[in-house]
């Protein structure tokens, strides 16, 4: 890596490199680029085969230089950057729409007032005809200016044998204008009283459609707020420490895997990495939703965009750019936001037929009123109103817009939902299967209790136990060694180490014979354990593994090791049961330990001693009882079971979120995440149902009323301008209702 300037500006763009096979190619590419005027810095990331370039030279020039050096390169489109650009273009689009709405609105309202004035120009006179003719032409120009995009869209769709929202508006307003012009030129076609023109209706409808679209862009912008907030979490710079120990601030785009970074108190951690020197407590709530800061020491993983609270430390970058956890989350959520829950399928199947059906209904409306003997003006108004009031948008938007907001909300709580189906099913669960190790418990055995006999103290027996266990490969040994190290204890050297399978270990330490193991080891070595037997049994019944320690054949005490239950497991399980969900525990552990843990957290149904490959079968059995089954596991050993379940939850995936088998990934390590997922699922689904219901009702009531169904009874025929207003309002209502989800919050949780 070549450093040219001390103060490096942010890379302007990245190129993807091809046929770069060896690290030495990197050098020749870099030097080829540095020969180009306007390139300040070029940094190759060999692992990712990318190159970050800063300076004034454009991508084309850079690519050419690379090609001349014998390699291929292409420009990488930065999604995050293009997002910003989309925002800008959309803002401009919104302004244009507002302006168009204003112009069409002013002329429309002007003509509307004119038509109510007592001295209006009569179409029975030539002057009146000329004036209305001119106004008609002005209207046409305004319609084409303000609604040209609708007309173009309708025509383009028509060519492709499709009918859209644009089709309805175009035919409705177009028919109004044509009819009006016919009346202007041949007023005698209709009786005197019916000589009314509808230029103002066409103009106001187009103004309302434009206004509605503009407001919708604004409201939609808010639906992706969660994603924007996630993107905004990213740190902008990092303090890199070079080989000489010099520190300098550089933009995070320039970071590479392996860089050593200094993180000071109060700073955001720039990228993912591991702590290599120092310790601190870190607020990870922005990723996990868990409000409690987490303490980190050497070799612990830290994540980009989380907040360093207290200490200063050095870290080594392990993941940069798109590989970081935050980027992965953003990508996952962005993808999930555009998926659909099963409930939306109905609206989808309708949407393809909706517009042609409305066109047919408009024709039928005209036929009915014509045959009953109504005037041409009445027929036009009724049919036009049918076309204008129908709103496929509200129907089509109902689900996607709520999903968009709901998925974003979930991400704020550290719940990553892969798709719409997972989102819907999570709220419908009737049974939830929890894996024991790592889900209910912490998944890492710890020393939970030390009991000593009269002649020994805790520290002594711990020191002996840890000293002997350093030679053991048993999984519980590590728990004892860790515990001893935590007390900054020196381990003694041991001689004649021996391990007896199923019993324990023994060795000579300080000339003393030390035994560490279960009851059998003690009995075979004639150690009397009677005084601690009751306590030992009690510990075992709690699901712990008590180990006896004897020094020179005299019982010294018990060290009890267990996989402790997470503090929040029990409250979460209680809440799940309160929701009416049947909670089941599944584990490969023995019955006794399983039952002990289940009892402590309040679970009645336990499947113990289940082989990993059989977990999926148990899920299947539960599903055959018509239950909708969720499964919570670590996502690695439980993959088949997670895949079999209706909703698979991967918990504590803080290290790797690319878990393919899970429908829902909980970044935090707590079962509370399942509750959050269920709560968000339920509230989102309710929102979707409200939207779908509203849109269906709106259309199925609005269309018949527009067609004049109430006219024979109440003499009511809807004004097409009111229909235009209702149509614009209906899709806005759907978007606004979905936006209400943004305000949803879960008690006691930080989003």
């Amino acid at each position: 890596m070549t450093m040219k300037a001390k103060n490096v500006s942010a890379p302007r763009y990245q190129l993807k490199l091809a046929n770069v096979s060896c690290a030495s190619c990197v050098k020749s590419i870099e030097s080829a680029l540095y020969a180009v005027a306007g390139i300040e810095q070029a940094q190759v990331n060999f692992a990712a085969r990318t190159i970050s370039i800063s300076g004034s030279a454009d991508p084309k020039t850079a690519i050419k230089a690379i090609q001349q050096a014998g390699y291929e390169a292409s420009l990488i489109q930065d999604d995050i950057l293009s997002d910003k650009m989309n925002d800008k273009v959309e803002l401009k689009h919104m302004r244009t729409l507002l302006y168009k709405a204003l112009i069409a609105g002013i002329l429309g309202v002007g003509l509307f007032i004119l038509s109510w004035l007592p001295w209006q120009f009569s179409l029975s006179t030539l002057t009146g005809q000329i004036i209305w003719g001119v106004l008609g032409i002005i209207s046409l120009m305004t319609i084409l200016y303000a609604g040209g995009h609708l007309y173009r869209g309708a025509w383009n769709a028509f060519r492709h044998h499709l009918a859209t929202m644009d089709t309805l508006i175009t035919i409705g307003t177009g028919a109004a204008w044509i009819y009006s012009m016919v009346i202007v030129f041949w007023p005698t076609l209709v009786p005197d009283a019916a000589r009314h023109v509808y230029f103002e209706a066409a103009l106001i409808i187009i103004a309302l459609v434009d206004l509605g679209a503009a407001l919708e862009i604004r409201a939609r912008g808010k639906t992706s707020e969660a994603i924007k907030r996630l993107i905004g979490l990213q740190a902008k710079t990092a303090r890199r420490v070079d080989d000489n120990g010099d520190e300098q601030d550089i933009p995070i785009e320039a970071l590479q895997v392996g860089d050593i970074l200094r993180v000071r108190p109060g700073e955001k951690i720039p990228v993912d990495g591991i702590v290599i020197d120092g310790h601190s407590s870190i607020d990870e709530s922005m990723l996990t939703g868990e409000p409690m800061p987490v303490s980190k020491k050497n070799n612990d993983q830290v994540f980009g965009s989380t907040l360093n609270k207290t200490g200063s430390f050095l870290m080594q970058a392990t993941k940069v750019g798109k590989e970081t956890m935050l980027s992965q989350i953003i990508q996952l959520v962005q993808h999930a936001q555009s998926t659909k829950p099963p409930i939306a399928k109905l609206a989808d199947s309708v949407s393809g037929y909706f517009v042609p059906t409305v066109l047919i209904l408009a024709v039928i409306t005209a036929v009915i009123w014509f045959n009953v003997g109504f005037s041409a003006g009445f027929i036009l108004v009724a049919s036009m109103t049918v076309l204008i009031i129908a709103c496929p948008c509200a129907l089509g938007l109902a689900a996607p817009i709520s999903v968009m907001v709901g998925m974003g909300k979930a991400a704020e709580y550290g719940v990553l939902i892969r798709n719409g189906e997972g989102l819907q099913r999570a709220g419908e669960l009737t049974t939830l299967v929890l894996d024991k190790t790592g889900t209910i418990t912490k998944g890492q055995p710890e020393v939970v209790k030390i009991i000593t006999t009269t002649h020994f103290n805790e520290l002594t027996i711990l020191q002996y136990a840890a000293s002997i266990e350093q030679f053991s490969e048993h999984p519980l040994a590590q728990a004892i060694i860790d515990y001893a190290k935590k007390q900054s204890m020196n381990l003694l050297s041991a001689a004649n180490f021996n391990a007896i399978t199923g019993q324990g270990v023994f060795a000579n330490i300080d000339g003393k014979k030390v035994l560490l193991g279960n009851e059998r080891l003690m009995i075979e070595n004639h150690v009397n354990i009677d005084i601690l037997l009751v306590q030992s049994n009690k510990l075992a019944s709690l699901g712990q593994t008590p180990m006896f320690i004897a020094i020179d054949n005299q019982l010294a005490g018990i060290i009890s090791v267990a996989d402790p239950i997470k503090e929040d497991s029990k409250p979460a399980i209680t809440k799940l049961k309160n929701l009416g969900i049947q909670v089941v525990m599944i584990t490969g552990d023995n019955q006794k330990t399983a039952q002990a843990v289940a009892k402590q957290v309040g679970i009645k149904q336990v499947f113990a001693e289940v082989l990993p490959e059989d977990k999926a079968n148990h899920i299947k059995k539960l599903q055959s009882k018509k239950s909708i089954v969720g499964m919570v596991g670590d996502g690695i050993n439980d993959a088949p079971a997670l895949a079999q379940a209706d909703v698979g939850f991967a918990i504590g995936a803080g290290t790797d979120i690319a878990i393919e088998s899970a429908d829902i990934t909980l970044i935090s390590n707590s079962l509370q995440g399942v509750l959050n997922a269920i709560a968000i699922s339920k509230v989102t689904l309710r929102n979707i149902k409200q939207n779908l219901f509203g849109a269906f009702i709106y259309n199925s009531v609005g269309i018949p009323v527009a067609a004049g169904i109430l006219y024979p009874v109440l003499g009511l025929l809807l004004n097409p301008m009111i229909a235009g207003f209702a149509m614009a309002a209906s899709s806005l209502t759907v978007v606004s209702n979905a936006n209400r989800l943004r305000l949803f919050s879960i008690k006691g949780q930080k989003s």
Binding site: V89, K92, A157, D166, S338, K340, F370, P392, G396, P400
Partner: protein, 121 residues
């Protein structure tokens, strides 16, 4: 009387035309010769909106020129592909392991509609 017959006949004809044009006739498909095709998202439609390929791998280069937010996403529901389209910038979507069949692609609301027809064995 002639008026009545004329009006009703025209209306009936219109209904038939609507059904035939929007339901029965599908737009001509564009045969992809190589394994890449550009689709414009413009004026409320995908052009071309019917794509036919005999390959099992296809790259579709979407160019979205329509600023309306409706066109922001393109979904291939059966293929589980959902992509956000940047404005005025090509966005490539590569579909692999395509099996024979018809796959609909739409915007989020299903107003923009297209169809991908795969005919390989």
């Amino acid at each position: 009387m002639i008026n009545v017959i004329l009006f009703n006949s025209i209306a009936a004809l219109l209904i038939i035309l609507i059904i035939v044009w929007f339901w029965l006739i599908k737009s001509k498909s564009t045969q992809v010769q190589v394994d890449e095709i550009t689709v414009y998202v413009k004026d409320s439609a995908y052009s071309p909106n019917r794509i036919e390929t005999s390959h099992s791998k296809l790259t579709i280069n979407f160019i979205r020129e329509d600023a309306s937010p409706c066109s922001e996403y393109v979904l291939f529901e059966e293929l589980n592909v959902h992509e956000q389209l940047p404005l005025n910038k090509p966005h490539k979507i590569t579909l692999t392991n395509l099996k024979s069949g018809n796959y609909r692609f739409t915007c989020q609301m299903g107003m923009y509609q297209g169809e991908l027809i795969v005919t390989n064995q």
